[in-house]
């Protein structure tokens, strides 16, 4: 049921973009890149750190976009994959002395496997049941990380303290700036990958499964395979984000990966726009900064202020920031059209 409920008012396949739209997108990307690269040189290093965290959340949210927006499966449990990614990186660095850079792909692969395996039983579940199963995973994860079974690796309740890498090749930038650029590069790479997936054969299969599973099956799409794959790939993105966060925070502990994080990522997904990969960045910024804004309004009622902001955002942007942006862009383009020489 709920699967069809995610009403995708305008479908992802919006026809090929016009030349005009393409050039707009191009200029937008160039502008974004220029600003993103220049920012760390103008901001205080703790703001650079905050932006790094926001980008990390955005990467995790891209994973959710692929799963929910493109394939129509729910997850309230991505904090678990985020945590597994962070712990994979931390244990490798701490116990086996592996360089941080190598832990990133490993974290991705480990999370892919976990996600794929979790996707198998999840296959039988739909909508609300799947949401709850993933929610259960999020709840259980801190308990598993704490367990004395794995304590000699994970450090149990004490967690693992990590060291932030310095900029390599003697680059004259701080470790905060270096991590920012690294995250930016990885984020862009993963975003491009995600867009390619969406526009590929696989992506069309995923969308077909979301929109009409029965028709998709009739067309010969292996639904089980694609659904579990979607779970795996989604976990991979989130796991890499987790590994980056472990290093950015320089500490992993079970308390960092509670279901509050899962809910935060989910909120980021929806306020950004479930189907838009670039909008994940907006989601990441929202996750990081809105609680701070709420707190500055009222300390005692910070939670309430956050809730009110959330409701207002949903009222004003029912299809997320991406929907709003599209609306504005369409209006602008329309005007340009009317004034244009043609």
């Amino acid at each position: 049921m709920a699967q069809q409920d995610i009403s995708f008012s305008d479908t992802a396949v919006r026809g090929l973009p016009s030349v005009e739209q393409n050039s707009w997108a191009l200029w937008g990307t160039v502008l974004f890149l220029a600003v993103a690269i220049a920012l760390p040189f103008f901001l205080r290093s703790f703001v650079v750190f905050q932006l790094t965290l926001a980008m990390i959340y955005a990467i995790a949210i891209i994973g959710l976009v692929l799963l929910t927006g493109i394939n129509g499966q729910f997850s309230l449990g991505h904090s678990a994959f985020f945590g597994i990614g962070a712990y994979t990186a931390a244990v490798l660095m701490d116990q086996f002395g592996v360089s941080f850079y190598w832990t990133l792909p490993v974290a991705g692969v480990v999370c892919f496997v976990f996600g794929f395996l979790f996707g198998l039983p999840a296959l039988r579940l739909e909508g609300i049941y799947l949401a709850l199963a993933t929610f259960a995973l999020a709840i259980a994860m801190p308990q598993i990380l704490k367990s004395s079974l794995f304590e000699h690796w994970t450090g149990g309740v004490q967690g693992i303290v990590l060291i932030k890498p310095d900029a390599p090749f003697g680059l004259p930038i701080s470790s905060d700036q270096w991590l920012y650029f690294l995250t930016l590069a990885i984020g862009l790479m993963l975003a491009v990958c995600a867009m390619n997936i969406v526009n590929s054969r696989t992506g069309r299969a995923l969308i077909a499964i979301r929109d009409n599973p029965i028709a998709a099956r009739a067309m010969g799409i292996d639904i089980s395979l694609y659904k579990t794959l979607a779970f795996g790939v989604s976990a991979l993105f989130t796991g890499i984000a987790g590994a980056l966060s472990g290093v950015a925070i320089q500490f992993v502990a079970p308390d960092s990966f509670t279901f509050n994080l899962a809910i935060g990522l989910f909120v980021g997904l929806v306020v950004g726009g479930v189907q838009s990969i670039p909008a994940a960045l907006f989601g990441g910024l929202f996750v990081l900064f809105v609680p701070n804004i709420a707190e500055s309004v009222s300390k005692g009622l910070a939670g309430a202020v956050y809730g009110v902001i959330l409701i207002l955002v949903i009222y004003m942007m029912p299809s997320g920031a991406a929907g709003l942006a599209r609306l504005v862009a369409d209006k602008v383009l329309m005007k340009a059209h009317r004034k244009g020489p043609r």
Partner: protein, 292 residues
Amino acid sequence: MDLFLHQVLAGLATGGIYACMALAIVMIYQAIDHLNFAQGEMAMFSTFIAWQLMQWGLPYWVAFVATIVISFAAGVLLEQTVLRPLHGAPVLSHIVVFIALFAILNSAAGFIWDYTVKPFPTPFGTQPLFGQGLMSAHDGGMIAVTLIILVLLYLFFRHTRIGLAMRAAAANPASARLVGIRVGWMVALGWGMAAAIGAVAGMLIAPVVFLEPNMMISILLYGFAGAVVGGLTSPLGAVIGGFSVGVIENLAGTFIPYVGREMKLTIALALIVAVLTVKPSGLLGRRVMTRV
């Protein structure tokens, strides 16, 4: 063997808490066809209202009834003001609004009544019901009330016009509208009833776990688990599910060596997921047929 029996009895007592909450969850599911993540916080807030009324000197049962009435009205009002504008919005937006409501109610309760635990009175007394006090009179009373609500709900949904109309409105809004059911009103009524049942659950749970703003967070989770195991569409299933979660969790924590006591919640959750993979709509839930 003795220990086994004790744990089962204690599990039934705690299971009563979950069953109570699971009923409220099923109620809202019947009315709106999805889950309300703010339900636990609504129940918590209702319980604080009851506590406040008693602090102002009202006797228990007056406060009890007044709280149910207030909660019902608040539930209807909430639907009419906050959720009405979202009519037709995707389910994801609804979930985010529930999360927002959760944050608002939790934070407001902490702001008004602070976070110190408060004892909440029980109308049934705390004397032991069975030998050695494994189940207190309150536990027994709570289970009894849960069963009474269950029967009332069954009668309501099966044998009253309005109950039938409500089910129709949730299952198929478009067709329901065509046969003259005021779907919007049915949804609001469902919210009111769910809030009222939640209030009863909160007032019965508070004497056991103590009243404080975070008291319902984990209970809601167990309530979800119970409701899902039993089948979200069946009140009876929800109650059975709630009891089984309580018992399974206790037994897992006691008898599974080494990992059991540390990960009893994890084990209970894994079992639930296992049940779901075998019976995707719960033990007693109805299968949803998809038509092409």
